[in-house]
């Protein structure tokens, strides 16, 4: 057990590196006076981390699914910002004459798909209609169809993706910073500090999220910032718990003890020694908090407290399409597919990053 812990000290130092270091380095008496930020210390860290990140990138690139995921995240992000301006429609522009039109795309329409026809399953039987013909609209194209106000679903889907991405990423990053610091500090100091911090956390988290979020949205003007703040105030708890659990696992280990013996400051130990060792679980948790943030927003939309109309998010688009699910399913499919793809990609990227960040996995 002792041996394994020692090896765990600097997980990114492969055996080669240790060997190289030993050759170059001649111990002198001054070493034992090391107190944190000496020049030697900096050299070591830089040397190690440079190679570490290079390796991470290399390992990440070897993982095909992760690269695939990253490409998808980038593609969706691209469309989320460019998609809404790719045609003449706007996300809020209504045309009640042209409501509930099925998807129709130029050229592809000749294949029989996306030609604007739809099968409506009525209680009196299924009928196939093409409103583009019935309403004599030879030059009208809604790539993903139009919704019940005659708004373009393509434009709305991407502008919804944009809103969801902004909310989720902002909330996840803020969560990470707050939750991680909180958990690490709480776990590291233990005792009274941990006790007080955990009580505060329990109180903060003990109130159902719905109640807090709802109250915040009722008290403040509903909008994107309010939603981000509400998510931020409730989502950091999970992150801090992970960080604390990891800290509890690591803080008794020898490399922490060694650092402390060498006189490193608490902050140094927490953020420079322990943090790099738990980056894997933290990143996994960030990737978990992105869908959680999107889901919470979607849930808020479902109970009528989401992003205010006529703006939309993926969640509010799903809730809007919910009632048309059996009548015009094409209205709910694009936001669901984009949301699922977004999550899939974030997860694949997370997996790839996680394995790339954790060199032990490489040895398998």
């Amino acid at each position: 057990m002792a041996a394994s812990s020692a090896l765990k000290k600097e997980p990114y130092e492969s055996e080669n590196l240790v060997a190289v270091k030993k050759e170059q380095y001649v111990p002198v008496a001054a070493d034992f006076k090391l107190k944190g930020k000496t020049a030697d210390d900096f050299v070591d860290t830089n040397f190690a981390s440079q190679n570490f990140w290079k390796e991470v990138v290399a390992r990440f690139r070897r993982k095909k699914s992760a690269v695939f995921g990253l490409i998808f995240v980038l593609v969706i992000t691209f469309f989320a910002f460019v998609g809404p301006v790719m045609n003449e429609y706007t996300y809020s522009g209504q045309n009640l004459e042209l409501k509930n039109l099925a998807p129709r795309i130029p050229v592809i329409e000749y294949t029989g798909f996306f030609d604007g026809h739809e099968n409506i399953k009525t209680t009196t039987g299924t009928k196939t209609v093409n409103y583009y013909f019935e309403k004599k609209l030879p030059d009208t194209f809604y790539w993903f169809g139009s919704d019940n106000f005659g708004r373009d679903i393509w434009t709305r889907t991407w502008s919804g993706a944009q809103v969801s991405l902004i909310i989720a990423v902002a909330a996840a990053i803020i969560d990470m910073i707050i939750g991680m610091s909180y958990g690490l500090i709480s776990g590291y100091f233990g005792g009274k500090v941990d006790m007080v911090m955990q009580r505060i956390l329990e109180i903060a988290n003990g109130i159902p999220r719905l109640v807090i979020v709802t109250l915040l949205l009722l008290v403040f003007k509903p909008g994107m910032i309010t939603i981000i703040v509400a998510l931020m105030l409730t989502e950091w708890v999970g992150m801090s718990r992970i960080a604390r659990a990891e800290m509890l696992k690591l803080k008794e280990q020898e490399f922490v003890l060694a650092s402390r013996t060498l006189g490193a400051s608490n902050l140094h130990i927490i953020f420079s020694e322990v943090l790099p060792n738990i980056i894997g679980p933290i990143i996994t948790q960030v990737m978990f908090s992105i869908p959680t943030a999107i889901f919470t927003e979607a849930f808020l939309s479902f109970v009528g407290l989401g992003i205010p109309v006529p703006r939309c998010s993926l969640g509010s688009l799903i809730s809007e399409g919910f009632n048309s699910f059996t009548t015009h399913p094409y209205q709910i499919i694009p936001p669901i597919v984009v949301m699922a793809l977004l999550m899939l990609s974030f997860n694949l990227v997370a997996d790839g990053l996680r394995e790339a960040l954790d060199p032990k996995l490489k040895e398998m």
């Binding site: 009640l96 029989g112 009525t122 209680t123 106000f149 009528g304 109309v309 048309s324 009548t327």
Partner: protein, 569 residues
Amino acid sequence: MKKKLLSVVLASTLALSMIGCGSSAVNGVTESDNTGAGSSDTAQAGGATGAGNSSSDLNIMLETPVESLDPQQATDGTSFEVIADYTDGLMQMDADGQAVYAVAESVDVSDDGLTYTFHLREDANWSNGEAVTAADFVFAWQRAVDPEIASEYSYMLSDIGQIVNAQDIIDGTKDKSELGVTAVDDKTLEVKLNVPVSYFLSLMYFPTFYPVNQAFFESCADTFATSPETTLSNGAFILDDYQPAATTIHLSKNPDYYGADTVKLAGLNYQVIQDSQQALMSYQSGDLDTTLVNGEQVDQVKDDPAFTAIGAGYMWYISPNIQGVEELQNLNIRYAFTMALNREAITADVLKDGSAPTYTAVPMDFAAGPDGSDFSADQEKFSDVCRFDADAALEYWNKGLEELGVSEITITMIHDADDAPIKVAQVVKEQLETTLPGLTVELQQMPKKERVQRMQDGDFELGLTRWGPDYADPMTYLGMWVTNNSNNYGFWSNSEYDAIIAECTTGETAMDAEARWAALYDAEKIVMDEAVIFPLYTQCNAELISTSVSGIEFHPVALNRVYKNATKN
């Protein structure tokens, strides 16, 4: 693709022709074994009976759970509907919404219109065998005004019913025993009013006026009307499955009801379903005989013979804050708004549930005049000031802007965070912004409670709101816009209007039905000429009622659905 499509169409046509019209269980009737209640779809498709609940139970969908079965505490339509299933008041509604005798068998009205003497039926009994007496009504009505009970509908007795001393008792200055209602003997009830109330008899079907047996009430202690054991029936059905906030409620026919011969249904089976998809699927699989349909589902059911639109009574309108917002004090701006609204498009393209565009301050189809005609049948009578006319709107708009000396206006509209208001608000925003250049409408959605509070506090600019009639008289609407009424959200004030309303309520005109009717028109005209509100539409509910069911009576006022004369084959 084409081939597959064809086969699907063929298959469904085939299925349709095999099952035949009239059956709603077209889609997805399967051979697989369903358990329990689920099997009623096969029963229906095959025309057979049996399985699960008794075959002639009517299966009804409710949108919201019951809030209270205490007739003096209940305020919502769902609660009223269920209470009326098992309780009869002095009067009831016939199919046309007219008041007809129920527990009362006759009534004498004094010449001055201030004293009503009700004679009760001899055969009206509670389900525990005791007779329904005048004392039961006295007890119940005293509860309704008792400040300790704090009934939310106490104003039905005071403001609307004008029963002697009701207001003083509510305010706590008189004891509840001084209420102007007395039991002359077991079967005679005498009611004294402050002023003549022309629609007093039609109030008697309102559940707030339903009787409560005092001895039984006291035997239940605090648990009155919270379970089948703590309710007493004197109506067509008996409650046999209920608990507070339940999602399922069951009632069975009351064999001892005085009108039991005419009650055809064996029972009522209520199911609360808050999701419209689930409701429609349950209907299609035969678990429900009647269900509400969301506007988005109308495309799916509009050719179904079971599909129908039922008037819900509510009128939706936009209330401008006339006192609080400088721009809205300008009459031209208000005209511009009301004429820029395309109400036809809102109802036909967005709501799609049969709701009717409304251009009057009193909605149609709930208040019939002395000659039996609808007060608001003529929707064009104010077309000079309220119609859809984009050009005129623009003209008024420019004139208004000029008077105000501005070129742009940004205005906020608050609305409820519910399905229909969210949709309507978005269209209204689009219509106003498209027609009136320089106008920006910002939407703010919030829970209804908060929206009402903000409007009553005057903390709003435009508010999308609704009003449901409490009784079948235009006054239920027109009474709102008198000076300082808490529902006069715009804090509009007009002394001429106040005078007409006062005259029609307590003055001499109140006694003369014809003259009163004419005066009410005058009052409505003032509201419309001043554009105090922008009426939008009168709400209808799109419903599917199985073709095997007939005789359900729908009303926009008080009791939305009455089942005692319904039949199910």
